[in-house]
Symmetry: C2
C-alpha cells in the first residue's frame, strides 16, 4: 500500500497574477506550510509539452540543433514542442511536432513516461515518446517563419556515450537517450 505523505502538503491561502506573457505565466501564491507558517511560492504555469526520440531501424536518431537564448548557445536536442492547448492529446502534439520539425511521420509512438523539468517552480509536464517506423513525406521541415533549427542523424549508441561524458546538457534529451538505449538493449535479450 502507498504510504501517506500528506503531512508534507502545502495549502494555498491566496495569490496574485504577476505576469502573463507569450510562454511564461507567473503567479505568486501564499501557502500554509506543514508547520503552520506562511510561505511564498512563485510558480510558472506552462501549457505542457511533448518530446520524442525518433529512432531508425539502423539505430540512427533524428536530432536537432537549436539556439537557446537563456544559455546563449546552440544545443543538441531531440524534437519537442508545446501543446497547442492545455487539453490537447500529447500524442497528437507529438505527431504534429515531428512532422513540422523534421518532415517525418511514423508508425509507432511508445510513451516513455512523463518528465517534470523543474518541479520547484514550473508546473510543466513533458510527455516523452519513443518513435519508430519512420518514413518521410517530403523530407523537408515545415517550421513557423520565426523558428530555426537544423536536423541531423546521429547513432543512438553515440548519443548515449555523449550523454555519459556530459556532452549533452539538455535534460529531456539525456532522459530520452538513456531510456531508449536501455529499452532497446532489453529487447535484444
Amino acid at each position: 500500500m502507498e504510504k501517506d505523505y500528506s503531512y508534507l502538503n502545502e495549502e494555498r491561502i491566496d495569490g496574485v497574477d504577476i505576469f502573463d506573457g507569450k510562454v511564461v505565466h507567473l503567479i505568486r501564491d501564499s501557502v500554509r506550510l506543514p508547520n503552520g507558517n506562511v510561505g511564498i511560492r512563485e510558480v510558472i504555469r506552462h501549457v505542457g509539452a511533448v518530446c520524442m526520440i525518433p529512432v531508425f531501424e539502423n539505430g540512427d536518431v533524428l536530432i536537432e540543433r537549436q539556439f537557446r537564448y537563456p544559455h546563449a548557445k546552440v544545443l543538441l536536442e531531440i524534437p519537442a514542442g508545446k501543446l497547442d492547448s492545455k487539453g490537447e492529446d500529447p500524442l497528437d502534439a507529438a505527431k504534429r511536432e515531428l512532422f513540422e520539425e523534421t518532415g517525418y511521420v511514423a508508425d509507432s509512438f511508445t510513451l516513455l513516461g512523463e518528465l517534470y523539468t523543474t518541479p520547484a517552480f514550473v508546473d510543466e509536464v513533458i510527455w516523452m515518446y519513443l518513435v519508430e517506423g519512420l518514413h518521410t513525406v517530403d523530407d523537408k521541415q515545415h517550421l513557423d517563419e520565426d523558428e530555426f533549427l537544423t536536423v541531423e542523424r546521429i547513432p543512438l549508441d553515440t548519443l548515449c556515450e555523449m550523454v555519459m561524458r556530459g556532452e549533452i546538457p539538455d535534460a529531456k534529451t539525456q532522459v530520452a537517450v538513456l531510456k531508449a538505449k536501455r529499452l532497446m538493449d532489453e529487447r535484444k535479450k
Copy 2:
C-alpha cells in the same frame, strides 16, 4: 572540427526586468532572429543548483520525498539545492545540501555532468554528482525551519525499474538514476 552553427544565433536588442522574486527573476528581451525579424524571449534567470545521487556500498540510494507546489503532489527526488550565490563552487553546494538534507557526509563526489532543465525559457544549470563513501555524522537532518522533506533508502536497481516504468517524473532524478546505473554496470565489466 566542430561545425559552425552560429547562423542559428539570436542577438539581444534590448530588454526589461519584469519581476525579481524569491526564486524567480523574470526578464523579457527583444532579440534579432536569424532571418532579421524581431522576436521576444521571456527568460527566468536562476542562480544555479546541484543535485546528487548518494549510493551506499550495498546499492541503496538516499532519496527524498518532498511536496512540490507547482504539481500539487509529493515527489520522489534525489537530494538537491540551489547555489548560495552565482559563483559558488557546485562541489561545496553539493556537500552542504547533502549534509543539511540527509545528515550524511561523503568521501567521493564524481561529477556526472550538467543538466539544463528547461533551455527554452530558464537559464538554470544543475551540476549532478554521484556520491559514494557515505558516513553519517549525527544521522539527522539540518533543514531550514520552513523546509520539509523525508529521507529513505531505495536500491538503485529498484529506482531504475521505477524510472523505466515512468513512475518517477522528476527529470534530474531520472537522469541521475539512469546514469549512475549505467556507470556502475560498466565498472563491473
